[in-house]
């Protein structure tokens, strides 16, 4: 795939939101294919992974429109185009025309016209800017259609048709080339690990040949919240685990998945998987990153082609297990806490109870928000949306709803376990003068270890 029309955009280190700078001129179309080729590519790549499950979902929609009311984007904009199922319209049309059981009928009678490149261009905004694949729409759907998964598939098509938003394409290409979407190259990573080790006086394990636990980090943490590395190291050391960071497999984010390039998604996952295999890891710990959990925990084995030879845990799950087994003793934090569930970890990942167990061990008063937990409102920054400047206005509107939801709990402290959500809170909080901080569950645990409990 050529990317001659895409220009690299500089990283933006000043903003609280860690992305590329706002491009002066947008290049939202990549490559030099003809229009027909783009449509062809889109359809081919959409149909490629199509199976019984996706087909069932495509068939089942009754056009009731309920999904709009579960979508943070529609709720914030009131724009009917942001109705989740509408975001799939061209692909639903293509499915009916090309792949469904009645495709022959639709095609010969031309009941569903061929999708055009203009439609695809129009839908770029709907598939990338206004969907985080948070899956809340599935909850409200009377047919239980997993729209998020279908949006993921539609992104495969869009990527191969060269129709990815400029910023998202840039960071993805960067990730594929440099190993990190946001400049956290292996040497940067190594430097920052050492820096954090010195700064916080913790033993850092890096590039150990053998270890039971492989710890991953996301670029956001490496660059923006490096304390996460120290906190993780502190906890693992405290528990006496054999663990390591590896410069050949540290990046937890998977922009291949977010942008829709399955080939790259596989490359990115395989880097981690082979590193874990190489060092004989029994457990891979994922950092506080939502989509990383989706990519490795639930899609990793499918990329690998066989079951993974190690366990994959989100850091909150690891902490919950440690608290459960008594390996980790925590000081009591006398505060009331509201927890923001990252969609990909909680609702779509299944680890919802884990952070609650940890918070319980911290002795905080957990104030559940209305429509929290598995039904949590998405922060609107996931799925790569936060990188796209075009999406900012709407994202702030969503965050305003989000702030209202959390504020109404009356909690003194806000906690989450996703650094992408966290940076969205930080940046939007500044923009909207929220006046509160979003804290990391991991860091909260690391700060409240009972030091001599183990010795």
């Amino acid at each position: 795939m050529s990317d001659t029309t895409v220009t690299e955009i500089e990283l933006d280190f000043e903003s609280k939101r860690f992305s590329v700078r706002k491009p002066e001129e947008r290049f939202d179309v990549q490559g030099d294919m003809t229009d027909d080729e783009r449509v062809e590519k889109a359809m081919v790549n959409f149909a490629k992974d199509f199976g019984r499950v996706s087909a069932t979902y495509m068939e089942a929609c009754i056009h009731c429109g309920a999904c709009a009311h579960a979508c943070p984007f529609y709720e914030a904009s009131g724009d009917p185009r942001h109705t989740p199922i509408w975001k799939l319209e061209p692909f639903k049309q293509a499915y009916k025309r090309e792949a469904g059981p009645l495709a022959f009928m639709y095609k010969t009678l031309n009941l569903k016209p061929k999708v055009t490149v203009d439609e695809l261009k129009e839908w770029q905004e709907l598939l990338y800017d206004t969907c985080t694949m948070c899956g809340r729409c599935t909850l409200i759907c009377p047919m239980s259609i997993d729209i998020a998964t279908l949006v993921g598939m539609a992104r495969h098509a869009m990527f191969h048709a060269g129709l990815v938003p400029h910023e998202l394409y840039t960071v993805t290409a960067k990730a594929q080339k440099e190993g990190s979407p946001l400049g956290a190259t292996p040497s940067v990573f190594e430097d920052r690990v050492e820096w954090m080790g010195d700064e916080h006086e913790v033993d850092m394990h890096i590039d150990e040949d053998q270890a039971d636990v492989l710890v991953l980090m996301s670029s956001i943490e490496i660059q923006k919240y490096p304390e996460s590395m120290a906190a993780t190291a502190k906890i693992l050391n405290h528990m006496g685990k054999s663990w390591t960071f590896r410069t050949d497999g540290y990046e937890a984010t998977n922009f291949g998945m977010l942008s829709g390039n399955t080939g790259w998604q596989k490359d990115m996952s395989m880097k981690v998987i082979s590193t874990a295999e190489k060092i004989g890891a029994k457990l891979v710990i994922l950092p506080e990153c939502g989509h990383a959990y989706q990519a490795l925990r639930w899609q990793g084995a499918n990329m690998y082609g066989k079951p993974l030879p190690f366990k994959v845990q989100h850091i909150s799950e690891f902490l919950a297990d440690a608290v459960d087994s008594g390996d980790l003793k925590l000081k009591t934090v006398n505060k009331s806490v509201a927890f923001h569930d990252p969609c990909q970890v909680s609702r779509r990942g299944g680890a919802t109870p884990a952070p609650r167990k940890v918070l319980e061990a911290l002795g905080v008063e957990l104030k559940e928000a209305e429509s929290g937990g598995n039904m949590n409102l998405c922060c609107g920054g996931g799925g790569g949306v936060i990188t796209i400047h075009r999406a900012d206005t709407l994202r702030y509107k969503i965050m305003a709803n989000k702030f209202r939801q959390l504020d109404s709990t009356g909690a003194e402290m806000m906690v989450t376990s996703c650094s992408n959500c966290r940076q969205n809170f930080d940046e939007s909080g500044e923009k909207l003068s929220w006046g509160k901080d979003m804290n990391s569950l991991l860091e909260l645990v690391a700060e409240n270890l009972v030091e001599d409990a183990k010795r």
């Binding site: 081919v44 149909a47 490629k48 199509f50 469904g100 059981p101 009645l102 495709a103 022959f104």
Partner: protein, 353 residues
Amino acid sequence: MKEHDLTLGEELRRQGISRRSFMKFCAGVASSMAIPAAMVPAMADSLAQARRQSVIMMAYQECTGCLESLTRSFAPTVENLIFNFVSLDFQHTLQAAAGDQAIEAIETAMEENWGKYLLLVDGSIPLKDDGIYSVSHGQSHLDSLRELAEGAAAIVSIGTCASFGGVGAAKPNPTGAVGVDEIITDKPILNVPGCPPMPEVMTGVLTSFLAFGALPEVDRLKRPKAFFADTIHDRCYRRAFYDQGKFAYSFDDEGARKGWCLYPLGCKGPITHNACATLKFNQGVSWPIQSGHGCIGCSEPDFWDKEGFYKPLSAGQWGTAEGIAAAAAAGVALGAASAVMSRRNQDKISGGK
């Protein structure tokens, strides 16, 4: 022929029948024809002015059941007033004459009343093979009907056979039997279907023809609306049970004994237009539903061929189990074929990648 010159009123007076008796007859006819009671005096006046009407009644492919039914109104009741007044110039079952004499009687009646006589037809008329399946005195009934119809003022088809072909036209209709109005198209025709028809209808039709000089208003099947506007179901005394959902499901169940609605037992009341429910048969003794049997729809065309008398109206033809199985098999084949096509497409795509 002096008799022919008297009006009905004069004739009545001659016979010493009082106007009061005549009024009573008119009230009876009006009641049966749903003519407003207020119109009775006018109807009586006009009827009294009527002159004796010549009637020729022909029996074609028939069973004489209709005549049997009609003669029930010939019994000594007020209705005989009207039947006594018409001049029944030919009816081969009732008259004494036979053979050549009978034919002569027809010819005389036709000549004397050309263009004025009323032709009553009983039985269907076979068309197949030039109508040779039904012949009297060397003449096919098809020819006979055409000849008689030419000089008739109007034709009344008595019974379902003459009206719609009836049993003769039931599948497979070997003689190609049809009703009168499929052959004669240029004369006023009135159908009095029913197997047998109700005698009161005949009385009403004759009275109204005499009183008003024309056939009464008819529906799309040329049946007098006065008797055929409503369905049996509309007027059925068991209708209340239908509305309440109380039904007989077999002829010996609780519902049947309690006289509940016979719809599930195939009653065709809802689609049958006739006056049985109000007039009843045999001088008002009873009628089929009152006797515990559903209506078979005998006054409707093709009632013989409507999927059996005991099949509920709402039942349809499901087709055979084999047919449905074959349909399912075809569905499997089509589904599999479309899936194979989709899979092949996918292979082509991933092969190309």
